[in-house]
Assembly symmetry: C2
Homo-oligomer: 761 residues x 2
């Protein structure tokens, strides 16, 4: 069995030996380098620009300003196109701008023979700005006299969800609780930065090589940005060193394409520095949430209402999708409770926020799981018990989209976690504490969808080609970005074909001119939505192999099957008739019969089951030092059938690490008055390293999702969601202080502890 | 109508603007360069080799000698694999050799940081040779005491063909004639030299980028040379600047693959200089032919016998296939005459001969068409009449393979040519000439197959993918090498799909990991064998488009058709229902129905109809100056339906130019005693330039071949065949001297004219 085994990643050796080639490993003859001229002001209008000195610098080949770019606005969100104009992303961006909307917004760009010259020349471009008032918050953006960041207004979108009359449900409960929550602006900090280059291979054909999660969407968007037919753009995605949603945005590809077009087709590279990644790519949305719930004495959550203000920064990017998706994804968690949700996404003069692992769910779950925990505590209910009582169970109906939940392992996750974590014993040890060092335990839950349907169209493709030696090349539209999808696709193909896992060769590069269509890596969708395509293609190829085996052997194919790379008798599988390699050689090279055996499937998915899970954490708080030490943390996941336990663990560990970072460390410090980003680098932006993290434990509850090709559900994003509220809840248990603002840094703790009278200022 | 129109090449703009990227345009980070240590002796044994000084040169990274290469022998011929071991090519080559078999044979190779250093280091490798006797000719090779060039003996292979008892047919004729013919060693002189580089993208996966006609065969052969599974090798063919059969051999790819493997996967480039191309790639076989025929007074060719000695040089390469294919290809020409053919291919210490445009047919046709012409003259028969009498006609059966000839336009070619050329008038003007300047006219015919079936397996693949904007990406296994195949495939696809030619985007790069299998560009096979795959894939895609149009429109698909990129009513084609782009957008982006529309076909061809044609030439011979001036030359071709008249003309012009070069100019001068190549460069090797060539006329007789997907037959190689015998026949008419040795240079003419008493020494 290939599925379910902890098989080694197909790209493991290529990556550890350095054979894997990333975007920056690709060189081209005559490549030119581009560097932006960026505004030092967060809100301004350019009144004059002088490129003379920059152009005079030896090695500089061109300078383009906002005056030179197409008068076309384009969207950048990594969403598949929609046939309905109202569902399309907001097109609010040009390649360069005269109206500066955030610190570091690009007003001009220099192309030179080397990157250093380009950078020096960029500093020589003289720009005169007319300063405008900076908008940092919802209050600022929505004020009646607020200056407009975009002509359409500062409100990007509003939406409301209501299921089972939440207002009434809450007020009818035994107990009501409300609170305000605030989450920070953070950055993805993927190991490989934002980088791409473009060149032309025909006068009307632009090729872009990019570190992107979404090559097909990049293709479409570049065409929109340059006003060309979509098929004039070709996007190639080589190996990629992480994206976490930042590369689910169209970032520098339109600029690279524009520049090569302007420069006659020579290759032009646009690579952002780490600093630029912070303020000129995308961030996670800061949410400001007013939350309210009703809880009965018996622990029944009658209903909850969350009102979100989402700060999307200077450009829409994914904009309101994040706020609305966060609610959708979490709506599976307590499906028998009434649920109200309102959200407003507004522009500000902050760097543009976009997609990031979890896509709104971490923020929403933080508010819900903290408030529920506080309410349970007030009613002296056990935090696990109250969740067990309200948690989704198989057969429940999602109150928002009315879809039936077939597989729900959340109860089992909580029960298994309670046992593995020794919740009761640990909780008992936290009672009646005094002294400076106090211990607490916390728990939090989440639910998360397995793709974007029905909001987005879910389509995936797989192509298989049988090699002469019996191995199979698997080409897949879905993009491997480090998460391990190529490996599980190889496992799926091996399983359905009946050949060894080692005989599957995955083509890891996507090329939009060639590879079957798939919108890309996001929404934890890949293994779910590509599986039916892989399964169908493998079934078709398997049938072709058996049909050709019949031509050779004259044994009816219905009595044959494939096992471990051989054609065997179905009724007696130890009886090997011939190898798949022999079938393949005959099919390729017989003079008259046969052909190359291959299969390709493009498939749309119209189901979207939720994954579930929870985090248990045990931590100590040193109150005078305002220091949190995690003693133990464990994530439990119901992601359906686990396709590869080793890779699944890797995803969980990575997500937990990011979740802890969001809870305790990370924050982009942006000056509210000026919009200047104060810590755009990995020295001043505190990102947890291996030294900052405890041992990360995880366990799985394997359900089998019947809507899924191989029984599995989402796993990529979920692990990031529940650590933060679990940690915050444990801190409350330890200290009695409910901290509703992330990150819970020593500085935050100090302020909260002073306010709570635990320490003096 | 797309087919039959003189449409612009799909790669025209990319090539003239410099956007098209060839192998040498690809750079890779850290690329290393390799240069051979080559033997100055043509036959020798290395007794000692010292690499110390070479390794000590700064910048040199490695030196490998014959002691370091795998103990594996591999073939290099560009033939599809055969399931029958006896039909496989001779594996007589290692990567480097201790037994030097030709001038410039490689005994060691240097890898350095730049090509110049590698070259300097190669000169520092000290080699001690034990000299062996040099074998230049069949006589030398077949002598009983001849030293063995390969352990299996100096005879590579012998074969015989006999149809309708040629011996009896010849002796029963009214008149018999015999003669000996000799053709030279020449080189292809493609504009882009032999070049490739290799690197590894996984520890077991070697990627080779090469200027090759046969990426799939390179893949297999490199695997054989390195003892690896075939699927471990990946070959990518970018744009390519001509091959003419030289790149139908596996040349430097195994070496590049070996070197990158040895160097841990870093890119290593092996690029031959023009000099090395001459003696270390491949040449055209020199044939030594004894020919005999029987002709009746009424002009009936009763039979002919050709006995060929083919000199394949130091290594087999295509070896005996050339001699046997030459006979097969020409056997359609006079199918009602008895035909005998024997051939022996032998090794020598000449550079290895391989495939070259015409593949043995030019040599065989030269002997036959010259001898027939001489015989006709002896019997006072008109050269055109005698050919018309014996020429293949529709319904004839090929005497060798017993296949029926469905389309035969040879009679029409001769008749049309006689009229266009004004044969009778020109011929009359050549009577009773005296003086130094004499004029002659000549004619010669050929036949040629449209692929390699049934000798080789004929398989081709095509994949089509409908883009969102209604354009179609066409991926094709067949390799564009300059001949224009990509353009005719686009025409075929447009025709069958019912969309404009401009809407077809051909992926010109073949990648053996991805592209549908096709053995490559040779045997004038591409447009013939790939056409059924293109036609079927287009039909399938068309059906899918119409089926989806029904989903949108609820009009039954059977009442719809595609015209000019639109879905129209079949019964009223002016009535446009929607565009293909609209269908495509709906299929991609509807939330529930549809999918990406695509189709892929792998197809085997089991028919092989012959193309026919002839050359008419009018020339003047200045006897004292031994100078030939062509006054007029015209080729006439029956290649079935002409798919693109402009490209067809281009093929004919190119072939005629090469044919004239072979007739009058080109010869590799190899010292028979030492085996040294005296003129391995384009200064001393006389290749005709535009200044040496007359206006090249051509005309087509369009037949419709019913075995062909679009009615067409071979055209790539045929134009090279008949110019040489036509020129030689015209010289005989002008001077009375039958010159049976090519090339007919002033030097040859001088010797012949002296011997004939026309001039004095």
């Amino acid at each position: 069995m290939s599925l379910g085994s902890p098989l080694k990643r197909v790209d493991a050796e290529a990556k550890v030996t350095g054979h894997a080639r990333y975007t920056d490993d690709h060189q081209m003859h005559g490549m030119r380098y581009a560097k932006y001229v960026r505004s030092p002001l967060a809100h301004a209008y350019v009144t004059a620009i002088d490129t003379y000195a920059a152009l005079a610098l030896p090695g500089v080949e061109a300078v383009f300003t906002y005056q030179d770019v197409p008068e076309l606005r384009f969207p950048t969100a990594g969403h598949a196109w929609s046939l309905e104009p109202a569902k399309r992303d907001v097109a609010d961006r040009q390649l360069l701008t005269q109206h500066v909307r955030h610190y570091g917004d690009g007003v001009a760009i220099v192309v030179a023979r080397d990157a250093l010259t380009a950078e020096r020349a960029a500093a020589l471009v003289e720009v005169v700005y007319q300063e405008l008032p900076v908008i940092a918050t919802a209050q600022g953006a929505l004020a009646p006299d607020a200056p407009l960041i975009h002509p359409e207004g500062n409100t990007l979108k509003k939406s409301e969800i209501s299921a089972n009359q939440p207002k009434e449900a809450i007020s009818s409960a035994d107990f009501q609780l409300s609170a305000h929550f605030q989450t920070p602006v953070i950055q993805h900090c993927h190991m490989e930065g934002v980088t791409c280059f473009a060149y032309m291979e025909q006068p009307d054909h632009i090729v872009i090589v990019s570190s992107t999660q979404i090559p097909q969407i990049v293709r479409r968007t570049v065409a929109q940005a340059l006003g060309m037919p979509w098929s004039n753009i070709r996007v190639i995605k080589p190996y990629i060193g992480g994206g976490f949603g930042n590369k689910q945005d169209v970032l520098e590809e339109p600029m690279a394409a524009f520049l090569t077009q302007k420069m006659g087709g020579i290759p032009v590279k646009v690579e952002l520095s780490r600093e630029e990644c912070f303020f000129a790519s995308r961030t996670r949305h800061a949410f400001s949430i007013d939350a309210e719930l009703g809880l009965n004495h018996d622990g029944i959550l009658t209903g909850y209402q969350l009102n979100v203000l989402s700060n999307t920064g200077a450009y829409a990017s994914h904009g309101h999708s994040i706020a609305s998706a966060g609610a959708n994804k979490i709506s599976y968690l307590y499906p028998r409770s009434a649920f109200g949700y309102s959200a407003l996404t507004h522009y500000s003069n902050y760097p543009a926020a976009g997609a990031m692992r979890g896509y709104g769910a971490p923020q929403v779950a933080f508010a819900l799981e903290c408030l529920l925990d506080d309410a349970a505590e007030k009613l002296s209910l056990d935090a696990v018990d109250v969740r067990l009582l309200n948690a989704a169970r198989s057969g429940d109906i999602n109150p928002v989209n009315h879809k039936k939940i077939y597989s729900a392992g959340l109860v089992e996750c909580l029960e298994k976690g309670r046992e593995l974590f020794e919740w009761n014993a640990r909780k008992a040890a936290c009672k009646n504490q005094t002294g400076d060092l106090r211990r607490g335990v916390g728990v939090a839950c989440f639910s998360y969808g397995s793709n974007t349907y029905p909001v987005g169209v879910e389509i995936a493709g797989a192509r298989m080609l049988l090699n002469q030696d019996g191995t199979v090349n698997l080409q897949i539209g879905a993009t491997e970005i480090g998460q391990g999808s190529d490996t599980v696709f190889a496992q799926m193909a091996a399983e359905t074909l009946g050949i060894p896992f080692e005989h599957i060769r995955v083509i890891s590069t996507q090329d939009t001119d060639i590879t079957a269509y798939d919108p890309g890596a996001f929404a934890s969708r890949q293994s779910y939505v590509a599986a039916p395509a892989v399964m169908q293609a493998a079934s078709e190829l398997r049938s072709k192999i058996l049909a050709h085996a019949e031509l050779i052997s004259h044994q009816p194919q219905w009595g044959l099957t494939l096992l471990n790379g051989n054609v065997v008798m179905a009724a007696q599988p130890e009886m090997v008739l011939m190898s798949v390699a022999e079938v393949s050689m005959h099919a390729y090279y017989h003079q008259e019969i046969g052909a190359q055996l291959l299969a390709e499937i493009s498939h749309k998915t119209t189901t979207n089951p939720p994954a579930f899970g929870c985090t248990f954490v045990d931590l100590s708080v040193d109150i005078p030092l305002c220091k949190v030490t995690i003693n133990k943390i464990i994530n439990l996941h119901d992601s359906g059938r686990i396709l590869n336990p080793q890779l699944a663990e890797g995803q969980v560990h990575g997500g937990m690490g990011m979740g802890i970072g969001w809870a305790l460390f990370e924050e982009m410090i942006i000056d509210e008055k000026t919009g200047v980003v104060r810590n755009p680098n990995l020295l001043d932006y505190k990102f947890p390293t291996i030294m900052d993290l405890p041992d990360l434990d995880c366990a799985f509850v394997e359900t089998y999702e019947p809507q899924s090709a191989y029984g599995h559900k989402a796993l990529g994003e979920p692990p990031i969601i529940s650590p933060a509220p679990a940690i915050r809840n444990a801190i409350r248990m330890a200290t009695g202080v409910s901290i509703n603002t992330l990150p819970i840094t020593p500085k935050t703790l100090f302020a909260e502890f002073v306010q709570a009278g635990l320490i003096r200022e």
